[in-house]
C-alpha cells in the first residue's frame, strides 16, 4: 500500500467516523451521556501513529465536529490537536503499547480531554461547560471510549499500516 492510499483511507475513516458520530453514537446515551467519538479518534490516532498523526487527525475531526457544536469554531480542533499529539508522545516515549494499556490511556485521555475542553471553553466565554454534570460526562464517556478504543485502534492500523513509517 502506498502513502497516497493510506491518506485516502485515513480521510475516509475520519469522514465516516464523523457521520457515524452525528447520526448514531450521539444517540447512544447512557445516563444522558454519549460516547465522545471524535476525542477517541484523536487519542487512538496518537496511539497508533504517534504525535504528528495524532495531532493531524485530532485537528481534522475537531473541525468536523465544530461545524455542529454551538461553541466557538476551532475549540474542539484546538483541544483534540493537543490531545492527539500529547497521547502520541506518551505512547512513543513511555509505554510502547500493550493493548490493555492503550485502552486505559484512551479512557484517561478522554476524561482529561473533556476536563480541558470544559475549562478552556469557560475561559473563552462559553457557558454551561464546567457544571456539576461534567464529572458524570467524563466518567461515562471514558468508559464508552474505552470500549470503542479497540475497534478504533484496529481501524487506524488498517488506515496506516506500520510499514509506511511511523514516528517511533
Amino acid at each position: 500500500m502506498t502513502a497516497a492510499t493510506a491518506y485516502l483511507r485515513s480521510a475516509l475513516f475520519l469522514f465516516t467516523a464523523l457521520i457515524l458520530h452525528l447520526a448514531l453514537f450521539s444517540d447512544l446515551r447512557v445516563l444522558g451521556v454519549a460516547p465522545e467519538v471524535p476525542l477517541a479518534i484523536a487519542v487512538t490516532a496518537g496511539l497508533v501513529g504517534g504525535p504528528e498523526r495524532g495531532a493531524t487527525a485530532g485537528f481534522a475531526i475537531g473541525l468536523g465536529i465544530d461545524l455542529y457544536l454551538p461553541t466557538l469554531f476551532g475549540l474542539s480542533a484546538l483541544i483534540y490537536t493537543v490531545w492527539g499529539y500529547a497521547v502520541g508522545l506518551v505512547e512513543v516515549r513511555i509505554f510502547r503499547s500493550a493493548w490493555w494499556i492503550n485502552v486505559l490511556i484512551t479512557a484517561a485521555a478522554t476524561a482529561g480531554g473533556l476536563l480541558v475542553y470544559a475549562v478552556l471553553g469557560e475561559l473563552l466565554g462559553e457557558a454551561n461547560l464546567y457544571t456539576d454534570r461534567l464529572y458524570r460526562v467524563m466518567g461515562v464517556s471514558a468508559v464508552a471510549n474505552m470500549v470503542l478504543s479497540l475497534p478504533l485502534l484496529g481501524l487506524w492500523r488498517w488506515s496506516w499500516p506500520r510499514h509506511l513509517g511511523e514516528e517511533r
Partner: protein
C-alpha cells in the same frame, strides 16, 4: 538523525495546527462572515449524507433509548395514562380555561401567532455532544426565510429561538431552558412586563426582574411573551405556567418559577415564526 527530523516535523505540524485553530477561534469570536459562510457551506455539503445516515441509524438510536430508558418510559407511560384520565374528566373546565385565555389575550390586544408567516422544520439532531443540551438543529434555513433570532414554537408554546446565522438548509435552535436564554413575559391578566430566563435542563424558568410585588399573580397563571418594543418575540406566545411565587422584599419584586408549557425534551417538529419586529413596526 532521522528521528530528530521526524520530531522536528511533528513539532512544526503541531505549531501549525495550533496556530490554525487559534486563528479560527479568533475569527469566529469576531463573527468573521466569510468563515461563517464557509462553515454553513460545509455543513450543507455534509447534510445529505448525514440525513441518510440519520434515517439508516434512527431505529438503532430509538431502540437504544427504549432499552436504556425502559424504566423511565414505563413511569412516563403510567403518568400519561393518569393525566389522560384527569384530562377526560376535566374537559369542560379545560375548555373554559381556553376561552378565558383567549378572551384575556383579546383584551390585551395580543394578535394570534397563527397570523404570522411560519415554517415547519424537523429536528434533525438534538445534542450532538455532551455539552450542548440546550440546542437542537432543524432542517430549515435561510432558503426558507429563517433569520437569526426568530422565535421557535410548538403547539405547546415557545421552545426557543434561532441562534446564529442559519445555513441554507439548516439552522440551530437555542432552547428556552438554556440559562442564557431570556424572554420578556407577562402573566396573563397583568400589565407588568418581566424578564424570564432559562433555569437549566429539566428546571423551570425563573422570573426575577420586572414583576412588582403588588401585582396579582397566582399559582397556575399562564405566562406569555410580552412582545413589547422591538422584542424579538411576538406577543401572546404561551411560555408556561406559574408554579412558584416568592418575594424579594428588598427590591419589592416578585420572583416566579414558571414551568415551560412546551416539552423541549422530545422535539420532533417545530415551527419557526418568520417574525421580524422591525418589519412589523413599519
Amino acid at each position: 538523525m532521522a528521528t530528530g527530523t521526524r520530531t522536528g516535523r511533528s513539532r512544526f505540524t503541531l505549531i501549525f495546527l495550533l496556530l490554525s485553530s487559534a486563528t479560527l477561534l479568533t475569527l469566529d469570536a469576531r463573527d468573521f462572515e466569510p468563515l461563517q459562510r464557509t462553515e454553513e457551506t460545509l455543513a450543507d455539503l455534509i447534510s445529505p449524507l448525514r440525513s441518510g445516515a440519520d434515517r439508516l441509524f434512527g431505529p438503532v438510536g430509538d431502540a437504544w433509548a427504549g432499552i436504556t430508558g425502559y424504566d423511565e418510559l414505563k413511569t412516563e407511560n403510567q403518568m400519561l395514562r393518569q393525566e389522560l384520565q384527569e384530562l377526560e374528566g376535566q374537559k369542560i373546565l379545560d375548555s373554559d380555561a381556553v376561552v378565558r385565555l383567549e378572551s384575556l389575550l383579546d383584551e390585551l390586544g395580543l394578535p394570534y401567532v397563527q397570523d404570522i408567516p411560519n415554517v415547519v422544520g424537523e429536528v434533525v439532531t438534538a445534542n450532538v455532544g455532551n455539552f450542548d443540551r440546550y440546542s437542537v438543529q432543524i432542517n430549515r434555513g435561510s432558503d426558507d426565510g429563517i433569520r437569526n433570532g426568530m422565535p421557535v414554537v410548538t403547539r405547546g408554546g415557545l421552545v426557543g429561538r434561532i441562534d446564529g446565522d442559519p445555513g441554507r438548509g439548516h439552522s440551530r435552535v437555542t432552547l428556552l431552558t438554556d440559562p442564557g436564554f431570556e424572554v420578556g413575559v407577562l402573566a396573563v391578566g397583568t400589565d407588568d412586563v418581566a424578564l424570564a430566563s432559562g433555569g437549566g435542563h429539566g428546571e423551570p424558568l425563573m422570573v426575577a426582574r420586572g414583576l412588582e410585588i403588588d401585582t396579582e399573580v397566582a399559582l397556575g397563571h399562564e405566562v406569555v411573551t410580552s412582545g413589547v418594543d422591538r422584542s424579538r418575540y411576538p406577543p401572546g406566545i404561551p411560555v408556561g405556567t406559574v408554579t412558584g411565587i416568592d418575594f424579594d422584599e428588598a427590591r419589592l419584586l416578585q420572583l416566579l418559577t414558571v414551568a415551560p408549557s412546551a416539552d423541549t425534551d422530545s422535539l420532533s417538529f417545530v415551527t419557526v415564526l418568520l417574525y421580524d419586529p422591525l418589519a412589523e413596526e413599519t
